[in-house]
Symmetry: C2
Subunit: 277 residues, 2 copies
Amino acid sequence: MNAASTDQVAFVNGRTRLYGIVGDPIVQVRSPEMVTWELQRRGLDAVLVPIHVPEAEFDRVLPNLMRVANLDGLVFTIPFKQRACALAATLGPQARAIGAINALARGADGRWHGEIFDGLGCVEALRRAGVMLTGARAMLVGLGGAGTAIAAALAAQRPALLRIFDLDAARCERTAAMLRAASPQTEVVVGAPVVDGMDLLLNATPVGMLDDARLPFEVPRLPASLVVFDAIVMPERTPLLAHAEACGCRTVRGREMMRGQISRIVDFFEAGGAATA
Amino acid sequence: MNAASTDQVAFVNGRTRLYGIVGDPIVQVRSPEMVTWELQRRGLDAVLVPIHVPEAEFDRVLPNLMRVANLDGLVFTIPFKQRACALAATLGPQARAIGAINALARGADGRWHGEIFDGLGCVEALRRAGVMLTGARAMLVGLGGAGTAIAAALAAQRPALLRIFDLDAARCERTAAMLRAASPQTEVVVGAPVVDGMDLLLNATPVGMLDDARLPFEVPRLPASLVVFDAIVMPERTPLLAHAEACGCRTVRGREMMRGQISRIVDFFEAGGAATA
């Protein structure tokens, strides 16, 4: 079936370069439409497809999938972000700090390069909103996978103060140690949420997701100078963001983080995994 | 990246079922647009992508690729049609006769079923054109991969006479033996091309392809009752078909065979590799 046809669809053909998102389960992912949209918006003949690899099959399937010659990059989601590190010949600075990747790109030399963009997407969203991070004072609540990645990406911007909080004390200490190593010039403090004297408040807990009407902590009236970010994507306007808006604060939404991340991942794919800021 | 977005493209998402065409090289294939078009025309949330597997990697990549849980079928092209037989738990009748497959479908039981549709596409095109094959007298010229597949598919329709010709005498005898085994009620004759007394003339040689202005043999004036088929896709109207039209014959084009094949392959995929006529 190598011949011409008028029965064509525009988005896939023999020359199309492949990308995939690997997860288990896979049906819930949004990267296929979002990354493909961004690839094609940039004029690339490329598509990102869902690749459902059962957890038990990961170690034998992935190294072989990576031998497909027109496959240029992979995105990893739950439960593979840690295990995928072993597939990379080199790891970017965020990935080294966190011990996880969510993107793997084939370089011009054929080697695969890994990095994690969860936190970089947040930094990108804040940058696009005009928020200055270098020298800033930030309070981050929630240190799960997303929160840890956001902490590492913020640290790389050399804020003056990074105060972090999670109900899991051991996780707080682990993250603090990682941040101090990554950014010696940043004052890293573990402690209950405060907003006075802060420039930026970030929520990376799941509190406020979907029908959850709660705030992630007992939030007082906020100073209007505070910028408030929430990593939650659904709903777009979380209870925390609604409260912040009522206090006159500028807000940055989880969807902007996602857009920032998609953009950074496609940059990474286009660069063949070359170093990211 | 599991959240909703308005940045959506319609054709791929987390629930999309995957199909692939495997070849080396891959850029020349047309299945991605043609099969995807047919899948989506039938309302299936599915896409067929090009999968470039270097020849030396085939044996280790394919069995692992087939462990991807949302991959439901594969198409094989050059140089893999013979080797791919080893991947199938069961082979359809055409595949058994020829020793090659070009489609592999995952059944409801998780097993993979193989069949070759090159010849069945020709039979489908002739059937759609209203040509009666059972009891007919047919002359087939050219017994390469496509010609052998066409011969096998024609034999399954129990024609009265199948006369076959190729410059390679050993290939003629091998094909004749295969046809006699497949259809004992058909008279199978090896011999130079003749058109008198025939209902159907089929060209499966590459003579007449692209800029080649030659006829596949010294073709006399044709009786207007003859149906003439040419497997060549480019150009659509080959020198043989132009001559046939000038003689008042009905013609069936290579592109119709390709359309017939796509339709049969998608039937096969939809049926999870269940038996084909």
